[in-house]
């Protein structure tokens, strides 16, 4: 049986990958989307999303599920498989564990993983009160004191969500000002979230489960859980395997058309150099990458 050749192989099942898939398929490209079964997009960890057009309020996991459903309806073949390497050539070969796929173009939309705090106790209490996903684990701590660590949109939305379901939230942030949208900061303040600013977490302590968080000024906050949301680390190992250029901060360098330095390989979303990392910007990136891939494949 002859090998199946795709016009476009998209790696990553988050907003950028799904958006790229919808556009690529609708433009008539035979499209495969590889979504790693053991990696979740940042959007899937998001609490209530209130800034994505068309949805007044929606959980991140629900939004991404809808995007995947729409991509599949558009004709994208979706495979739950982790891509392990990309070999560049006339055709691009994407290897997964046990299989390989050939494509005329590739869009890397591997996103970013949550950044770890790197403090004592973090690994020891993972799953025992240390969490990186408030909508997932938050309901386990209703009525209990928790810390949210971070100052971006994600951290503030975690704080608002947790306070809203009945947790007593203290938000710890290293600066006086926030990177988060002002609307979110105001919402957190008005909902009763306590702000501990210009402080950072130094240690997470407990016996069997998390019992307290020690700050850099040695003060102690007694809590049942800590939700860490202090940024992200781009997933660029796959891009490196294909010789794609990575910048000094470890993000993929792309042109305005989302082309990388390797012809036929494009990149979109949180894994790329971009001033903003939002779901709406990721879907926009995916769209541009898909249209550029279409132009590349059709020789435009």
């Amino acid at each position: 049986m002859p090998e199946e050749i795709f016009d476009c192989i998209i790696i990553g099942g988050g907003p950028a990958g799904c958006s790229a898939g919808i556009y690529a398929a609708r433009f008539g490209l035979k499209t495969l989307l590889l979504s790693s079964p053991d990696t979740l997009s940042q959007a899937e960890h998001a609490a209530d999303i209130e800034n994505y057009p068309g949805f007044k309020k929606i959980h991140g996991a629900e939004l991404v599920a809808k995007m995947r459903e729409q991509a599949a309806s558009a004709g994208v073949k979706i495979a739950d498989a982790k891509a392990t390497s990309i070999i560049d050539g006339k055709l691009k070969t994407v290897h997964t564990e046990g299989k390989h796929y050939s494509g005329k173009s590739v869009i890397i939309a591997t996103g970013a993983a949550h950044r770890k705090g790197g403090v004592p106790g973090e690994d020891e209490f993972a799953g025992k009160g240390v969490s990186y996903c408030a909508p997932c684990d938050g309901p386990l701590f209703k009525g209990k004191p928790v810390v949210v660590w971070g100052g971006g949109d994600s951290a503030l939305s975690y704080a608002v969500y947790l306070q809203g379901i009945g947790c007593k939230v203290t938000l710890v942030h290293r600066r006086k000002d926030f990177r988060a949208a002002e609307a979110l900061v105001k919402k957190a303040a008005s909902s009763g979230v306590k702000f501990t600013l210009e402080r950072t977490v130094a240690e997470i302590k407990g016996k069997k489960f998390v019992e307290s968080v020690v700050l850099d000024d040695k003060s102690v906050i007694k809590v049942s859980a800590i939700f860490i949301s202090i940024g992200e680390v781009p997933a660029v190992e796959l891009a490196r395997s294909a010789g794609v250029a990575i910048d000094a901060a470890s993000f993929i360098s792309v042109s305005p058309s989302k082309a990388t330095n390797v012809p036929g390989i494009f990149a979109a979303g949180d894994v790329t150099v971009t001033p903003f990392r939002q779901i709406a910007t990721a879907t926009g990136d995916g769209t541009i990458a898909a249209l550029s891939a279409f132009k590349y494949v059709k020789g435009g």
Partner: protein, 86 residues
């Protein structure tokens, strides 16, 4: 009969995958029942307190917590087989 009980939340993106795994495991073995509880519910909160659940998905076989977080199918299967033998 041995019960596999999966505790999950509605917004947990790993939980649907874990649920599919548990159902698939149960289909291929005799003497297994599957129970699924959303811990967001008042009934679910009882299990949170009883089993000191701190992360979802959490999977119990009988009364024992055998998996916390994204489950490993091989170790989950061996925990179920062990419970069936006893």
């Amino acid at each position: 009969m041995v019960e596999i009980h999966i505790l999950k939340t509605k917004a947990c993106p790993s939980c649907p995958k874990a649920t599919v795994m548990v159902r698939r495991l149960a289909e291929g073995m005799k003497g297994i029942t599957v129970r699924e509880t959303y811990v967001d519910s008042p009934e679910g909160q009882k299990f949170v307190n009883k089993y000191q659940v701190r992360c979802v998905p959490t999977i119990l076989v009988g009364e024992k917590v055998v998996s916390v977080g994204v489950p490993n199918e091989t170790s989950l299967r061996s925990a179920v087989e062990k419970a069936l033998r006893s």
